[in-house]
């Protein structure tokens, strides 16, 4: 028996890949969440502002419509504000320095067999694994 979570994971993954495919083939853009948002935040994406806003609005507003289909949807995010703020800052600075995140470097970079995407993914997986090890198993705070 294959666990249900794996099937839903693969199905959701296909939706993510399908979205990346449409964005690339129709709009000629790489679907990277941190790049689309970051370009608005620092002004480097001003010439494609409405396109970016439309994408972000879709990402933000459509998933809540699916929530009634589930018994419960919970992000299970920690209630420690210090951890949340530190994590948010690291993700914000890190994705902009690296020029991509799980969607840009991960999904789009790996599938293009791009060395930067593959290298970045290996490094953020390493960073994440070390962090979870230290903060969960050594310090016991997450």
């Amino acid at each position: 028996m294959i666990p249900q979570d794996w099937i839903w994971g693969a199905l959701g993954g296909l939706m993510i890949g399908g979205a990346a495919a449409i964005y690339l083939l129709v709009n000629g853009r790489i679907m990277g969440a941190s790049g689309i948002l970051g370009g608005l935040v620092d002004g480097t994406g001003r010439d494609s502002m409405v396109e970016r806003l439309a994408f972000l609005f879709g990402t933000l507003a459509v998933p809540p419509l699916l929530v009634p289909l589930y018994h419960s949807v919970d992000t299970h995010i920690t209630t420690n504000p210090g951890i949340i703020i530190a994590a948010g800052l690291l993700v914000g600075v890190g994705t902009r320095l690296a020029n991509g995140c799980t969607s840009g470097h991960g999904v789009c970079g790996i599938s293009r067999l791009a060395p930067r995407g593959l290298g970045s993914t290996a490094l953020y997986l390493l960073g994440g694994a070390v962090t979870v090890f230290v903060f969960r198993h050594v310090l016991g705070v997450i």
């Binding site: 993510i16 679907m31 994590a87 994440g128 090890f133």
Partner: protein
């Protein structure tokens, strides 16, 4: 102005962007990527490792392997914009430091930028605080990048 343009007479690429964002966000919800415990379980290689995210990544990468071939052969998109050129295969200090920092933040809270957006409406105050912190990080990122390059190129 942007609001009037968006709702009044949106261009095709803006409508496609909205739909794409909707499918992307829905995929993040369906796959479990917005569940911080699942993400941290995936990164917990020395604990109760949860392989679900491998299926998410596999499901997303598989169709894109073929799509990239088509896109690079076409050279232009359906709407006439150029397909982004292949970046130089160079690992610079910003990419290395940034990726490690991003990974650390991803592991700490279990959220990356896409899921932070997709779960904004259901993430409560914790999700909102994460989002605000992430945007703050994006605002100071150019300063950090400048500091980093002054340290590494001299």
């Amino acid at each position: 102005m942007a609001g009037r343009k968006f709702f009044g007479h949106a261009e095709p690429r803006e409508i496609v962007a909205f739909l794409t964002g909707g499918i992307f966000g829905s995929g993040l919800l369906v796959s479990g990527m917005i569940d911080t415990k699942k993400v941290q379980g995936w990164l917990d290689f020395f604990g109760a490792w949860d392989p679900t995210l491998a299926f998410v990544l596999g499901g997303a990468v598989l169709p894109m392997l073929f799509v990239w071939r088509i896109a690079e052969k076409r050279k232009v998109s359906v709407l006439g914009t150029p397909i982004p050129p292949r970046p130089a295969p160079k690992m610079d200090p910003a990419l290395i430091a940034g990726s490690l920092m991003f990974g650390a933040g991803w592991g700490l809270a279990g959220l990356c930028p896409g899921p932070a957006l997709a779960s904004f409406a259901i993430g409560g105050w914790g999700g909102a605080l994460f989002f605000l912190s992430m945007v703050s990080g994006m605002i100071v990122a150019p300063t950090v990048a400048g500091w980093l390059s002054s340290r590494t190129t001299s």
